[in-house]
Symmetry: C2
Subunit: 420 residues, 2 copies
């Protein structure tokens, strides 16, 4: 279970109520017309999950592999990485996931040295099928590990891409196992499609419960039972010129990768030119508590009032590690926390920081997981996707494209075309 | 060697030249009067480095340990972590550094399980000596590993703290080896003091060259031979109401931890109320290229014009990993990069992204390492410290305090005092 608490002292007026009503209508329409396909994933991917599980039990190579190497970048890896990081400690038996994302030679070399072909499955993920970083790394893997795709290594490679993409044709050519991504599901909204569900299911995570949690949130939202979402979106959208940044302050180390997924989702979806030609830019920032209380907090407290802050905490870490009841000579000042659990300490720090930020007049809200569970992971993913769609609808921008990244790709290609 | 290139089409007018001149004067005064002590560290720490090396060779326990466990948070760990991450691949023989920072019970348990007392050295770092997270983790270590500080384990524990702090008295009480931090060196400026130099030297890094690189930058700056620093600071300070965020986009995975150090340095130093009572908030954001081209770049390109971007790249990764000259059926479109090195690819991506961002009219500058080396690591640390001091001087704020984080600490303490 997840609870959501808005601490804003803000009450939408009539125009703002209308904005919320219309945005909800737009989302309903997006779902019905298929403008964005992610709304259907929690239900549609249940079949995929079952099919993947069946494939796993029928395929000895997969069952025996210890590492799943995921080759992908951006939306093709961030969501899977986030789920893996959140759930790893609850699934100690899950196969290791190794992500090859960045085309940094030192980083790649180091990761290559940790791969044993005979114990690995390689999953290549690219929506377009021609992502330059991903395909370059895939080629390097083929060469380094002598992957024989015409023969014995065919069962070690899985491809996840758009129907009809170049990578899809490549998979057909070699008879590789391929999963497709619905065309109307963008990379940053794709974690509950094959992009995340296939590697996570093969690794051994309870993806069925992840989808259940996600599905429940979608159902309740469209039934009008998650009204806090619309209110939060409306606050953010109507204050976007004042609170230009949203800080997601997570109080658990296992949520760090989730903040990276959130940054992509938010930045690529909401950094846009709106229907009137105006540049909108809601900047997402991920922070880890209490770590970043010793870093970024000062800026939140005393810097310009241009941020809203979302705190995310886990009520029960299901871990009783305790601060021993020891008094250290001359450091007795710190004994007030003795005999408490670290669970109590970290959450008290979250509460104290939230209170101090809120008392400064900075808008805060709090999301609380009862505990870390696959269901909660599914729910929080859809919560953020819905929030993003709502804010985008209210700002009158195209939430689902990313035209701003094309120019750099063209410059890159021309650079090499000219050289050769 | 590091080169610095400012791509701003901006020429300071007379008033701005005066601002630069005065800020430089203020920094000279800070150094002379000891307002900030970090200017002297590159020279002063050379003795410390030599002494630490001597201590290492005289102490068998230290020499034989394989892991150095650093217990510290914020300024007590971020700098050391950044240097370790940057130089790790150049010093494969360096002892493993394990950082215990966050009081997250799941994270701590996982890290505890990777510690073998007999092969470990424990370094407790806290400027005040009463940091609640650090002292709580230290107590948990004592209990978990049965550290006998009255007897045999005394040589396994080192303390780094302010002269006269509670932790310093504790170390005296037990006869533990202790290193002190100059009082006028704040946590976020302390990486070249004992805080970073002791663990890095004991691990086996070439800290002597790190200090040399840092020292060279300090000398050239005060000799007036690094004028680009003042110009960059002046641009940032005089445009702080427009470009409220500075994005540090690093094109190397090994620089990720460095962006976290930069975020603390910038946020805690420059998120302040100025002499006129106005809230100043220059927000630092770290991004990893090319990874975040698939995430944050869209927002930079099309979002509000509220960011300046610093690109940081490494000309020579000293690694010849190559994209094989393989053509994959139906994916021939990606062959333009075949037979090139990943080194070429990642840097071409940096150049292409810089160009596309710059063509949008967003202010950019470029920092280029000729390669990763201890000297360059030392130089870039001091470069950012000096830049921070200059911007702070120009904005007329106290760069070296952090009053905004005290309230949360008090709320936390009261919370527990009330309960018990």
């Amino acid at each position: 279970m997840i609870t959501y608490r808005l601490d804003y002292d803000w009450h939408p007026d009539e125009a703002e109520e209308k904005l919320m009503f219309e945005a909800f209508g737009k989302i309903v329409e997006e779902r019905e017309k298929g403008v964005a396909g992610y709304y259907h994933l929690p239900e549609d991917s249940k079949l995929l999950e079952a099919e993947t599980r069946a494939y796993l039990s029928s395929n000895e190579t997969l069952r025996e592999c210890e590492t799943i190497v995921v080759v992908g970048i951006g939306g093709s890896s961030l969501g899977t990485k986030a789920v893996d990081a959140m759930l790893r400690h609850k699934f100690p038996e899950a196969k290791r996931l190794l992500f090859l994302e960045n085309p940094d030679p030192v980083d790649l070399n180091e990761k290559f040295s940790r791969i044993e072909k005979e114990k690995s499955l390689f999953i290549v993920v690219s929506k377009s099928g021609t992502t330059i970083e991903t395909m370059s790394i895939f080629k390097a893997l083929i060469a380094r590990f002598g992957l024989d795709l015409a023969g014995g290594d065919r069962s070690r490679v899985i491809v996840i891409t758009d129907e009809g993409s170049a990578l899809c044709s490549y998979a057909d050519h070699h008879g590789l196992k391929a999963y497709t991504i619905p065309e109307n599901v963008g990379g940053r909204f794709s974690v509950l499609s094959a992009v995340g569900i296939v590697p996570l299911t093969l690794a051994g995570y309870d993806t069925c419960s992840i989808l259940e949690g996600a599905s429940g949130m979608v159902r309740r939202f469209f039934d009008g039972r998650e009204k806090h979402l619309e209110k939060k979106a409306a606050f953010i959208a109507t204050h976007n010129d004042i609170y230009r940044m949203n800080v997601l302050f997570v109080y658990a180390s296992c949520l760090e990768a989730f903040t990276r997924w959130y940054v992509q989702l938010w930045a690529e979806s909401l950094g846009k030119i709106d229907a009137k030609g105006q540049r909108i830019g809601l900047t997402p920032i991920g922070q880890i508590g209490p770590l970043d209380q010793h870093s970024f907090l000062q800026l939140i407290m005393e810097g310009a009032r241009d941020k809203s802050v979302t705190f995310l905490k886990i009520a029960d870490f299901e871990n009783d590690l305790r601060i021993p009841d020891i008094s250290l000579e001359n450091i007795e000042k710190t004994d007030y926390i003795n005999a408490r659990t670290f669970n109590e300490l970290i959450n008290a720090e979250c509460d104290a920081t939230l209170q101090s930020v809120s008392e400064e007049g900075i808008p805060v809200d709090l999301i609380t997981f009862d505990k870390v569970s696959p269901g909660n992971v599914g729910e929080i993913i859809v919560y953020y996707e819905l929030l993003t769609s709502l804010v985008g609808a209210m700002l009158d921008i195209d939430t689902y494209n990313q035209p701003g990244v094309e120019r750099g790709k063209n410059i890159l290609m021309n650079k090499f075309a000219k050289d050769s």
